[in-house]
């Protein structure tokens, strides 16, 4: 065997180990979701059951948490994406030191541990909303604080995602629209926003998912309420039950479906782009004749 082959074999072995490290725990957990014993065990496999999935539906707290998680997720998207958009537009119109300062402030939530964001959110808003009885009664709630706390760093994700696309925007497009008589707001709605649409979409997806699975910030900001993840944490702390495995199986399945859909959409998009290019080639040939 040559040294190249040895290297290749070692590489293959390494990738296999890596993937085993990545997926092994998840696969073991998935198996326990279908095994009958009340302690989640993968081996010995005593009997196939769907009982734990049924238990999931009956779990009142889990369902309440899920509802709250969805509300918070939507709230975070509604707040963070516009903030990320606004921040990226401002960032694009300032220079040098002003830009560095702005950047430092806006990405600082990404460099702050989530627990600290949660703590500071609760301390600040407890006093800020406590100023009047009305605000305290209406807004001092776990769901509101979680939306605010999570938006603090999710907006920074959105900023980075949108900024990446905005830097590729051709200023001539803006000027062309202006030259044809559009007002500045019209340029924004007709030209810039459609251009940013893909980035806004992915920012929304990322924002929702980061909100949905957040634990560190939420565990403080949620106060007496519950989200799916904090309920999970409570359950997992109390003991191990196959119900959690069952939930994990559902999430894994959904993620896989999501990934597959994404891949499929991407393929279709590429095919469509290829068709357009082909048409342009045909037009080019027609011109040459």
């Amino acid at each position: 065997m040559t040294s190249g082959k040895v290297m290749k074999a070692m590489l293959g072995f390494y990738i296999a180990i890596f993937l085993l490290y990545l997926f092994g725990p998840l696969m073991v957990m998935s198996v326990t979701a279908f095994n009958t014993p009340t302690y989640p065990q993968a081996y010995p496999f005593e009997g196939f059951t769907l009982e734990w999935f049924g238990k999931l539906w009956e779990h009142r707290l889990l369902m309440e948490g899920l509802r709250n998680s969805l509300i918070i997720g939507v709230g975070v998207v509604v707040i963070s994406v516009p903030i990320g958009l606004a921040a990226s537009i401002i960032m694009n119109q300032i220079y040098h030191r002003a830009r560095s300062l702005f950047y430092l402030v806006t990405v600082s939530p990404l460099l702050t541990p989530g627990v600290i964001i949660g703590i500071s959110t609760v301390i600040f808003w407890k006093d800020a909303l406590g100023l009047t009885d009305f605000t305290k009664a209406t807004f001092y709630k776990g769901i509101v604080l979680s939306i605010l706390g999570q938006s603090s760093f999710v907006a920074a994700y959105c900023l980075l995602i949108i900024m990446a696309r905005l830097t590729r925007f051709d200023r001539a497009q803006e000027e062309a629209a202006l030259d044809l008589g559009a007002s500045y707001p019209q340029v924004f709605w007709h030209v810039l926003l459609p251009f940013l649409k893909p980035a806004l979409l992915s920012a929304s997806v990322i924002a929702f998912l980061s909100s949905f699975e957040n634990f560190n910030t939420t565990t403080f900001a949620i106060l007496a309420d519950k989200t799916l993840v904090t309920v999970l944490a409570g359950e997992a702390r109390q003991g191990t039950t196959p119900v959690l495995s069952a939930l994990a199986v559902i999430i894994i399945t959904l993620s896989l479906l999501g990934a597959l859909t994404y891949e499929l959409l991407k393929r279709r998009e590429e095919a469509a782009a290829e068709r357009v290019k082909e048409n342009a080639r045909i037009a080019e040939r027609g011109e040459a004749v």
Partner: protein
């Protein structure tokens, strides 16, 4: 309807850099007017000042006699064709063309009718629902023109719009642009660094260098009677002989050059002792002996046969060769490399200009 454009002592500065220096110009309504110059000469800055993307640091821009100070690009009766066309990639061809009408609040059916009319004009009938990215380079070009014409501007500004096309298409588009201009009858202001484009299409040309307008004239005059060494050396090929004026008489002057005393016209009325440059175009030089002040001798460095003509490169005074272009039926025997050769020209084809900045090669 067309409108004239007047520049009245326009200066544009970026920080310490002066992009346009005191430009004064009167472009008549319905004229095809070109700004010609190398990149960085300030021609694009002038265009952006006329279209309203830039405000002049000093001076006034008037369109149709009206001062444009403080009027934004979206309120001016101009339309601009961008260098990269700047078509909206997410809109269809028809939507692109009708965009200017859409922002003016014109209803959908009128917009569509107008777009169809214009598609007809640019020979893209029935292709309104295509995406811009499905068109060829020349078709995109025509869509950009239609989009600009849709808003019925009084002045159309074109910023090197042909530079992205290949040579053959570029030549075809020159004729087409000129035809469109004559059909719609509005003022065209055209920016280019390609003298061929400027000479073939324009009624008048402004040659620019380093933010200064060097000369404004029609194509023939710019070529035959350049006013500055820059224009003489930038427009077309030219041979330059530097020296000092030794004699002036009857509108002509003799310059003492490294190749001896050589004569030419003296439109700038230089006096004896002035530093001067004599310009003689390659096609004006002929192989063979002529008058004493209109011929000289040099060594042949190389010969390039180009079919319809032959270029003979003679050793010049500085690094640059002297080019002699001999036509297919010029009659003279083409000298061989390394030979001494005598060339002459007609005094009326020599041009004596005061010493000054020349175009970089």
């Amino acid at each position: 309807m067309s409108a004239g454009v007047e520049l009245d002592h326009v200066t544009v500065k970026f920080g310490n850099f002066t992009a346009v220096n005191d430009a004064t110009l009167d472009i008549k309504g319905g004229e095809f007017f070109s700004f010609l110059g190398p990149s960085g000469c300030g021609k694009t800055t002038i265009l952006r000042t006329v279209s309203g993307f830039l405000d002049p640091t000093a001076g006034q821009v008037r369109i149709g006699g009206q001062d444009m100070q403080g009027i934004g690009p979206n309120k001016r009766p101009t339309a601009l064709i961008f260098q990269n066309l700047a078509l909206f990639p997410l809109m269809t061809v028809a939507e692109n063309i009708a965009y200017g009408l859409r922002v003016r609040g014109i209803d959908r059916t009128t917009r569509r009718r107008k777009a169809d009319e214009l598609l007809d004009l640019i020979a893209l009938k029935g292709q309104g629902d295509k995406l811009v990215s499905e068109l060829s380079g020349g078709q995109k070009q025509r869509v950009a023109i239609a989009r600009a014409l849709a808003v019925e501007p009084k002045v159309l500004l074109l910023d090197e719009p042909l530079s992205a096309l290949d040579l053959k298409l570029r030549q075809h588009m020159r004729t087409e642009l000129r035809a469109i201009q004559q059909r719609v009858g509005i003022t065209f202001i055209y920016i280019t660094h390609d003298q061929g484009e400027a000479l073939t299409m324009s009624d008048r040309i402004a040659v620019m260098s380093d933010g200064v307008i060097e000369q404004v004239a029609d194509g023939k005059q710019v070529y035959d009677l350049p006013q500055t060494p820059f224009v003489a050396s930038f427009v077309g090929e030219n041979n330059a002989f530097t020296g000092t004026v030794s004699k002036v008489a009857n509108g002509a002057a003799v310059v003492d050059t490294p190749f001896g005393a050589l004569a030419g016209l003296n439109p700038k009325a230089l006096k004896v002792g002035d530093k001067a440059i004599l310009f003689v175009r390659p096609e004006s030089l002929k192989i063979g002996k002529g008058g004493s002040a209109t011929s000289f001798v040099s060594t042949v460095e190389s010969v390039a046969f180009e079919g319809n003509m032959t270029h003979v490169f003679l050793k010049g005074a500085s690094k640059k060769d002297i080019t002699v272009t001999v036509g297919r039926h010029g009659g003279a025997k083409i000298p061989a490399q390394g030979e001494k050769s005598t060339v002459h020209y007609d005094e009326a084809h020599g041009l004596v200009l005061p010493e000054g900045k020349m175009a970089r090669d």
